[in-house]
């Protein structure tokens, strides 16, 4: 089952910030497509425009020039409210610093996006349980973030990203704050998710992580300098279940 249009499509996208009258181009004239079921690494040194690009794909920001299409629709044509609703239903964010709400327990955190989908509490909690189970964190459902290790917090964050069955999971340096072993586990989790058909875009500056993704987009100074697809080289071991 493939959509007529690619899932995400960027066409000559530029993003310019204006600080104190000086225009700084964070992303310049970038175009690429991401198809359903892909796992893509966006690589580049810091300041290369990776985060800006992710914000635009995640509907948090709009391009200054060019257009971002989600399933063929120009996101600039949507209202701010509509983009917010799409974030709740179609985008799953995973951040480097997890970004869990400290004053809510794991299951409440996982259920949070469903609040903005207008789903009743009972169903929210049931689905959050299922989502926690999928990342192997059900036993920590009523722990608060500070009671969890970094790796555990990131698993909870992934459960939260998955709860609304999003079209795409956007992960910004998801292993950046973790030790290498825990990082590897998280990467295996992403790989396993991708095998079930989940589209994933992962931002990283680590070539070792990028190497585990089939496709890597290279950015430098806001420009697209490479887009390569390699033969499958994902680890066979699964962290799921």
């Amino acid at each position: 089952m493939t959509a007529a249009a690619p899932l995400i499509s960027l066409r000559s996208v530029s993003r310019t910030y204006r600080t104190e009258g000086v225009a700084v181009a964070a992303v310049r004239n970038v175009s690429f497509d991401i198809a359903q079921g892909e796992i893509v690494a966006v690589m580049g040194p810091s300041g290369s425009g990776k985060s800006t690009l992710m914000n635009m794909i995640g509907l948090l920001d709009l391009p200054s020039e060019g257009a971002v299409y989600l399933q063929g629709a120009d996101v600039a044509d949507l209202t701010e409210d509509r983009r917010s609703s799409l974030r709740a239903r179609s985008i799953g964010f995973v951040f480097q610093s997890y970004n869990l709400l400290a004053r809510h327990d794991a299951i409440e955190n996982v259920a949070l996006p469903l609040v903005y989908c207008g789903i009743a509490r009972k169903e929210r909690l049931a689905r959050a349980e299922a989502s926690l189970e999928a990342v192997g964190m059900l036993h920590r459902a009523h722990h608060f973030p500070r009671q969890l290790s970094g790796g555990e917090q990131q698993r909870v964050a992934i459960a939260r990203a998955l709860i609304a069955s999003p079209l795409i999971v956007l992960a910004d340096e998801p292993t950046g704050a973790l030790d290498s072993r825990t990082g590897a586990e998280i990467l295996s989790l992403f790989a396993a998710l991708n095998r079930t058909g989940q589209t994933i875009v992962m931002i990283t500056h680590d070539p070792g992580i990028a190497a585990q993704c089939r496709r890597t987009i290279h950015l430098h100074d806001g420009e697209l300098v490479g887009d390569e697809t390699q033969a499958p080289a994902l680890p066979k071991r699964s962290a799921v279940s």
């Binding site: 914000n55 995640g58 948090l60 920001d61 701010e80 409210d81 917010s84 609703s85 799409l86 974030r87 709740a88 239903r89 964010f93 951040f95 970004n99 709400l101 004053r103 809510h104 949070l112 996006p113 609040v115 903005y116 989908c117 207008g118 509490r121 939260r160 609304a164």
Partner: protein, 407 residues
């Protein structure tokens, strides 16, 4: 996000910081409690006055002694009884607007019935008194003409006195009681008119003069302490007042240019004026209490602004996960509303407690007004909306990208 979800999130957030939440709402609590208390005391005072106005009776004029000059010295009002029984007769006969009138003298004395006794007002008057005040009997009869003329040893009791002297099953009619060693037969018990009015015993005017004041009294045998008169219709009050004044000046031979030696008053009108004054004072106090509500609102706004700044990252996370601007606004508005409503509810409870304590300790009549409670709660909600809006709006306007970058 629905309103209900907004309130759930708000309650969750406020529970995490109970002390801060309580201190934040304290201004509202104090404001609402003061408003409820002031309203309760104010409307209690008004109720009491209304009862007094009712107990006097409609369209009643009261004539009391005024200042008199004795050898060029102006004496205190009422220091000399200037009205007489013949004045009563003249008012009744010569002024057509007067339908009933009665003179009274009064003092306090101990009334005794068997083992019980009670200190009360003894009012010597005529049956006209009850007509003027529209005061009906609960049992028995009024004074007869012979009793009024011949200083009959009879008494009509106010309901409080009857209750104090007689056991519940006991019929006071026909019983003998004693006042200042004079045995009197109870011929009537009056209807209840109000706590301040019912503590009285009426005897015929002649009885009071002959048997209680005695012949040794330096008071003119013919004089009365005050006269009450009933005017036939409401519209004739002013006219009747002027006619009585004219008549009494003639009868007392007061030359033109000299002050009256009496006062004609409309007690109901005077009390209504007093009632107006109470209302004004109460409104003033409510206005002062509202300042506390305003201060409370400002303190809520202040804490909410701090809270928005503290929770910038939370706002960023919520926006990234799909919260719309209006969802964020609703969330913070709900927090302000919950603070104000909770503060308002605590304030109402505090106000009720306070006014009941005041009622008990100072012996004032207070009346808890449902309208006042409703009004304070509406004020609380309005405060929440007004002072919660700016911080909530500020929160909703935060850029999610910038908000996520903050630590």
């Amino acid at each position: 996000m629905t309103m209900l979800q907004g309130f759930q999130i708000a309650l969750h957030a406020l529970r995490l910081n109970p002390l801060r939440s309580f201190l934040t709402m304290l201004g509202i609590v104090i404001g609402v409690a003061s408003i409820v208390t002031v309203f309760a005391i104010g409307s209690g005072a008004q109720l009491r006055l209304q009862e007094q106005i009712r107990s006097i009776g409609a369209n009643v004029l009261m004539i009391t002694p005024g200042a008199v000059y004795q050898g060029g010295v102006r004496l205190k009002d009422g220091s000399k009884l200037t009205m007489t029984e013949s004045d009563v007769q003249a008012i009744l006969e010569q002024i057509p607007e007067i339908q009933a009138a009665a003179g009274s003298i009064a003092g306090t004395a101990q009334v005794i019935h068997e083992g019980k006794n009670w200190n009360t007002t003894i009012n010597g008057t005529t049956t006209g008194h009850f007509m003027v005040r529209d005061w009906q009997l609960a049992a028995g009869r009024y004074f007869s003409a012979t009793e009024e003329a011949g200083a009959g040893k009879v008494v009509i009791l106010g309901s409080t006195v009857a209750r104090e002297l007689f056991a519940p099953g006991d019929d006071p009619i026909g019983a003998q009681i004693r006042i200042m060693k004079v045995p009197l037969e109870v011929v009537g018990v009056l209807d209840r008119k109000g706590p301040a009015q019912d503590d009285v015993a009426f005897v015929p005017l002649t009885t009071a003069k002959l048997r209680f004041l005695g012949s040794a009294s330096n008071i003119n045998r013919d004089s009365v302490a005050y006269i009450i008169a009933k005017v036939t219709a409401d519209g004739q009050m002013a006219g009747a007042r002027a006619e009585i004044a004219n008549l009494l000046r003639q009868r007392h031979r007061i030359p033109a240019g000299q002050d009256d030696d009496f006062k004609v008053q409309d007690p109901a009108a005077a009390m209504e004026a007093q009632q107006g004054a109470i209302r004004t004072v109460a409104l003033l106090l409510v206005a002062i209490a509202s300042v506390s509500l305003l201060v409370g609102g400002i303190s809520i706004m202040n804490v909410m602004i701090v809270s928005v700044t503290e929770r910038t990252r939370e706002i960023g996370i919520r926006r990234a996960l799909g919260g719309r601007m209006r969802d964020i606004r609703l969330q913070f508005l709900c927090e302000a509303l919950v603070l104000c409503l909770l503060g308002g509810a605590i304030g109402v409870a505090g106000g009720i407690t306070l006014s009941m304590t005041v009622a008990r300790m100072a012996g004032w009549v207070t009346s808890i007004d449902g309208q006042a409670i409703g009004l304070s709660l509406v004020f609380s909600i309005a405060t929440g909306l007004v002072f919660g809006f700016y911080p909530a709006h500020k929160a909703s306007k935060l850029s999610p990208i910038e908000a996520l970058k903050t630590e």
